[in-house]
C-alpha cells in the first residue's frame, strides 16, 4: 500500500545522491498508480469488505452541517451583511506550492479553484471588487488591482504560475494593507490567503502587522493546504476571519467557495450610510466609441456613465473619469437574497416517517419525483418549517444554494391571496 505513495520519491533520490531533487523520474506505470490513488476511494465496512466510498450521503451531511452553522449565526439576530466587499486573494507561490500531494501540484489545484471562486464571487457579490496578490521568494507582488472583471483576474493569474523561494505572510499583509487602507469606509476590507507553506520568513515583527490589520478592520481569512499553523490561526482570530485547512482537493474547493457569500458585517463598522451610484445605459449596438478602461475604440456594447458620459466596457465598475460607482439594477437585486436567507429545512425524523397515522406527501414538492421507500434508509427528506412542504435532498441543495426562494412558501402566498378575495 505504501509503494504507491508519492513520498517514495525521497527514498529514491537518497539512494543516488548525485541527482538530488529530480522528482519526475518515475516510470509511467508507477506514475498512474501514484496519481490515481485508487485505494483512497475504498473503505472497509463492518464485516471487513472493501467498498467504494459513498460520497453522496457524506456530501449531504457536510452540506447540512454548513447550512446549520451559517443559520445559527444568522437566526440569533438579524445580521447585517457586507455587500460591498473589497477582497484581495493572496496566493502563496513559495517553494511549498510545488509539492505534489495535490495532483498535479498544489499550485495548479489552487489556481484552478481560484478561477472558479472568482467567477462565483462576482456572481454572488456583483457590487464587490477583487484583486490578486502572490507571494514568491519572500516578496509579495500585486498581480491585479482591485477590479470587477473576472476575466482579467483569471488571465493574470494563469500567466504567472511558477513558484520558488520562501513565503512571507508579513510582506503580503503589508502590501494588501497599503491598498485596502485607501478604500472608502462603506466597503468591507477582506483578505483571503491561500497558504501552502508551513512557515513564514518575515523581515519584521508580524504581530505588529496583525495589529495594524486589526485596527484598519481588515478581515483576514486563511485556507491552509497542509497543516494548522499557529500564526495563521492567530491572524484569523484577531481579525475576525475564518481559518481552515484542506484535507484534499474537493475539501479545498468547498472551503474556498465558503468565502463567496458575503460575511456578516463587523459591528462597530456597520454604520448605515448612503452611497452614490450610477445606473448607466447600455449603448446602442452600432455606435463606435473609445472606452475609458482599455483606451481602445470599440464597436457596440459598453455602457455610458450617466454623469460624465464616458464609455465603460463592463459593469460593475468605477468610472475612470468621475469616480462614480457604476452598476446595473439586476446586480443590486442579486445581492438582495443574502440579507433575507431562507431558513434551513428540518430533517423529517424516521419516527414520523414510520408512523402509519401520518399521511405524508408521496413526492417532493419541488421536482415532483416520488420519494424512495423509507424502509431501509431513514430521513431522506426535509421539510420547510414555514410551509411544511416536503423536499428531496437535491431540491434542498438547489433551493438553498441557487434558487434562494422556497417554492412552497411562494406558491402558498400566491394561492392565498385569491382565496382571500373570494370570501
Amino acid at each position: 500500500m505504501n509503494n504507491g505513495n508519492g513520498r517514495r520519491l525521497n527514498g529514491e533520490t537518497e539512494e543516488d545522491d548525485d541527482d538530488e531533487g529530480s522528482e519526475g523520474d518515475l516510470d509511467a506505470w508507477e506514475r498512474t498508480y501514484a496519481d490515481e490513488r485508487s485505494w483512497e476511494s475504498l473503505q472497509e465496512d463492518e464485516s471487513g469488505l472493501l467498498r467504494p466510498v459513498d460520497n453522496t450521503t457524506l456530501y449531504h451531511a457536510q452540506y447540512r452541517r454548513r447550512i446549520r452553522s451559517l443559520s445559527s449565526q444568522a437566526t440569533t439576530a438579524r445580521i447585517q451583511k457586507g455587500l460591498i466587499r473589497y477582497l484581495y486573494i493572496v496566493v502563496d507561490l513559495s517553494r511549498a506550492a510545488a509539492e505534489m500531494d495535490y495532483r498535479p501540484s498544489r499550485m495548479a489545484v489552487v489556481a484552478k479553484h481560484v478561477e472558479a471562486f472568482i467567477r462565483e464571487f462576482f456572481d454572488q457579490n456583483p457590487l464587490s471588487q477583487l484583486g490578486l496578490v502572490t507571494i514568491k521568494d519572500g516578496i509579495a507582488h500585486c498581480l491585479t488591482d482591485l477590479g470587477g472583471s473576472p476575466e482579467s483576474h483569471v488571465k493574470a493569474l494563469m500567466g504567472k504560475l511558477e513558484c520558488s523561494g520562501e513565503s512571507s505572510l508579513q510582506n503580503a499583509l503589508d502590501l494588501v494593507h497599503g491598498y485596502l487602507n485607501q478604500i472608502p469606509s462603506y466597503g468591507h476590507r477582506e483578505v483571503l490567503i491561500l497558504y501552502s507553506a508551513l512557515s513564514t520568513c518575515d523581515p519584521g515583527d508580524i504581530l505588529e502587522t496583525i495589529q495594524k490589520c486589526k485596527k484598519s478592520k481588515m478581515r483576514c481569512s486563511v485556507i491552509g493546504l497542509s497543516a494548522e499553523i499557529f500564526i495563521c490561526k492567530h491572524l484569523c482570530q484577531e481579525t475576525g476571519g475564518s481559518y481552515s485547512v484542506a484535507m484534499d482537493e474537493s475539501h479545498f474547493k468547498e472551503l474556498i467557495l465558503e468565502h463567496a457569500p458575503p460575511p456578516p458585517a463587523i459591528a462597530e463598522f456597520a454604520i448605515a450610510n448612503l452611497i452614490k451610484m450610477g445606473f448607466p445605459q447600455r449603448a446602442a449596438e452600432s455606435s463606435i466609441a473609445i472606452c475609458s478602461c482599455h483606451k481602445e475604440a470599440k464597436v457596440g456594447g459598453g455602457y455610458t456613465c450617466p454623469r460624465c458620459k464616458a464609455r465603460v466596457c463592463e459593469l460593475p465598475t468605477e468610472c475612470r473619469i468621475c469616480g462614480l460607482t457604476l452598476i446595473s439594477s439586476p446586480h443590486l437585486a442579486r445581492s438582495y437574497h443574502h440579507l433575507f436567507p431562507i431558513v434551513p429545512f428540518d430533517e423529517v425524523s424516521p419516527s414520523v416517517l414510520n408512523d402509519p397515522h401520518n399521511r405524508l406527501p408521496r413526492s417532493c414538492f419541488g421536482c415532483q419525483q416520488s420519494f424512495p421507500n423509507p424502509g431501509n434508509k431513514p430521513s431522506l427528506r426535509v421539510a420547510c418549517p414555514k410551509c411544511k412542504q416536503h423536499f428531496c435532498l437535491d431540491c434542498d441543495i438547489y433551493i438553498h444554494e441557487s434558487l434562494h426562494n422556497c417554492p412552497g412558501c411562494e406558491s402558498f402566498r400566491h394561492s392565498k391571496s385569491p382565496i382571500a378575495t373570494e370570501e
Binding site: 505504501n2 505513495n5 513520498r7 517514495r8 525521497n10 527514498g11 537518497e14 539512494e15 500531494d101 505572510l169 508551513l198 512557515s199 513564514t200 520568513c201 518575515d202 515583527d205 508580524i206 504581530l207 491552509g224 497542509s226 497543516a227 494548522e228 499553523i229 499557529f230 500564526i231 495563521c232 481552515s244 485547512v245 484542506a246 484535507m247
Partner: protein
Amino acid sequence: MKFQIEDVTVYFPYDHIYPEQYAYMVELKRALDARGHCLLEMPTGTGKTIALLSLITSYTLSKPNNPVKLIYCTRTVHEMEKTLAELKLLHAYQTIHIGDRARILAVGLSSRKNLCVNSRVLAAENRDSVDASCRRLTASWVRAAAVANPNLPTCEFFEEYEKAGSNAVLPPGVYTLQDLRAYGKEKGWCPYFLARHMVQFANVVVYSYQYLLDPKVAGHLKGPEGISIKCVRRLRRRFKATDAGRLRAEYNRLVEGLAQRGNLPFTDNWLSNPALPDDILKEAVPGNIRRAEHFLHVLRRLVQYLEGRLETDNVEKEGPVGFVASINTHAGIDQKTLKFCYDRLHSLMLTLEITDTDEFLHIQTICDFATLVGTYTRGFSIIIEPFDERMPHIPDPVLQLSCHDASLAIKPVFDRFQSVVITSGTLSPIDLYPRLLNFHPVVSRSFTMSLTRDCICPMVLTRGSDQLPVSTKFDMRSDLGVVRNYGRLLLEMASVVPDGIVCFFVSYSYMDGIVNSWNENGILKEIMQHKLVFIETQDVVETTLALDNYRKACDCGRGAIFFSVARGKVAEGIDFDRHYGRLVIMFGVPFQYTLSKILLARLEYLRDTFQIKEGDFLTFDALRQAAQCVGRVIRSKADYGMMIFADKRYSRHDKRSKLPGWILSHLRDAHLNLSTDMALHIAREFLRKMAQPYDRAGGSGRKTLLSQEDVEKMGDGILNEMQY
C-alpha cells in the same frame, strides 16, 4: 455539579466531568476508606489535580467526625500556584452550595524568597542569601539587641507579626502565595512566618515535596552532591574565628541533652527533620563533642580525613560500615559522634548567632554527610572518583555519598501519614514503584484518557528511507548510515510539520556528535531552510535564552526545532504544548550511562535487596524517561501532537510494553516498524485531520464529557472500561 460516590457527596466545580476523572475519584475514595496508600496514573491534561482536590475536600465534608488534613506536595512553585488557584475555584463552588460548612483554610508554603514582602531582604539575588538576610533581621538575638539599640535594622513585618502574637491568624479561605503576600502587606505581618504558623491549623497545605522528604537524603537522592577539596579548605578557615564566651554557655545547655533544644527561643526552631530515627532525639549528645572546641576538633579531623581520602588515584567504592570503621581508625571519630554532627552544628550556629547561613553551606554539607554515614548502614555507598571520566588528565576529585534506596527517604512519610497518594502522568510499569519505594499500596491503577478524537499519534520508526535499521545502540550509533538516516528523518519532518518540533537525544555527548556530523553533511543547513534550530546546553542561562527564542520563533510562524537531552532540565519540567510542540522525536532509547560507578552500585543493591534484575530496572528507567520526554507535547485534550520513537529497539515487545497505557492505547499496529517515508505519510494525514474543527463534547458513540445526569445514570460499567 454534585454527585454521589458511594456514601460521599462530591462537589465538583465544573458542569461536566471526564469519565476518567470520575473513575479516579472512585479509586481514591476507596483508598481513603481503606486507610492505605495508593498509586494512580492518569495522563496529563485530564485534570488530576481538581479531581483529587474535590474528592478529598468533599470526603472531609461528608465525614465531619473524621477530619482529613491534606498535604499536597508539588515540585515547582508554579505548580503550587496552579493547584491553589484550582482549589480556590472549588472552594467558591462549595461555599455557594453548602454555605459556611464548606469553610476551609488552605495555605501554600514556600521559601522566604517567594513569600517575603520586605523590599530590603528581597534585594538579595538567590534563595540562600534571602534566607540569610531575613535571619539577619529577625533572629532573636538581633531583635534583642535592637531593643537596646534602636538603630539596628529589624524587619517591621516580623515585628508586627510578633506583636499580634496569637491573634495573628488567617481567616478561613484559600490563600495562594500571591494572596499571602497581599494579606501580609495589608496587615503588616510577615507572610512567611504567618504561613508557617498557619500550617498547623490548615486543612489543606500545598508545598514543595522537599519539606516532607528529609532534605539531607533528598539532596543525595537527586544528584549526589560532590565535595571537592577546595570547598573543604575554605571551610576550615571559617572555624578559626569563633567566640569563646558564648561557646561556654552553650556547653552548659548541651550537657542536659538534646531535648534542651526546646529551650532555645521558639522563633528559631527548625522544621524537625523526619528522616532521623526517633532515638537520636532522645539520646543526649555524646560527651566528646559537647564542648564547642572539641566539636571543632572533630570536624577538623574529619575534614582532614576526607581530604586525605580524596588524594587517591583510583576510583574507590565503599559501604558506610567500612567507611565509618576507617574513620574511626584513622581519625578517631566513632559512629555515634558522626551521627550527631548535623544537630550539633545547628545548635552551634544558633549559639554563635550566625545569621549569614549561606556562607556556611559547605560545612553543613559535610555535617549532613557525616550524619548520614553514621546513621545508615545500608542503602548507601561512598564513591570516590579522582577525575571526570570525560577528561581523565584533569584531576577533579569528587567524593559522593550515593543513595541506592529511594525507600529510605520516603519511609518516614509513609509511616507518618494515613494515606499517601502518588499520582502522575508517567508511573508505568505501575507494579515496580511499590517495590522500589518499599510500600504496599491498597490501590494502584492506571487510567487511560478518553478522547473525542485521536489527538496523539505515537509512531515507532525503525528504518530510514533506505530500509536500513536505525538505533543508538553503542555499536551502531556512530555508523554514518544511521546518522544520515536520522538527519533525513528530521529534515523530512521539518518540511511537513508546522511550528515547533522538539528532539530528544540520549546524551549531551551524542547530541554534540550527531549535530556536528549533520553540520558537515549539510543536512543542518537544509533543515535551517525550514526551521530555526535551538540547542539545549548544560548552561542554564543559555538554555533559558534558547527556549525563549524557540518560543518566539514558534509564535511568529518561522517555525523552530529544539534539540534537547533526555534527563536534562528541559525534559524534566518544561512543557511544549500546543504549537510549541507539534512533534517530538526521541532519537534512541535513553538508557543511563551504564559504566557509571553510582549506577553500578545502585543496580547491585537493587538486585541484592529487592530482586530486581539489572536489565529490568534499566529498561524501566529508560522507557520512563522516554515517556516523560514525549509526554511534554500534550497538556490538554484540545491539544494534539505526534511522537516518534526512532530506534529499532522500540519495536521489541519487552521495551514497548513498558510505555504508559495512554501512549500504548494509541500506538496502533500499523504505526510500528515504520520507515521514514511511511512515517511522513502518516504525519501529513494526521496533521490535516487534526486541523479540522471538532466537537469538544464528543459526538456519537463515545462520551467524553459527562453531565450530572450522565454520572447519576452511570453504573460501574464505565469504570471497568477506563481501567487499563
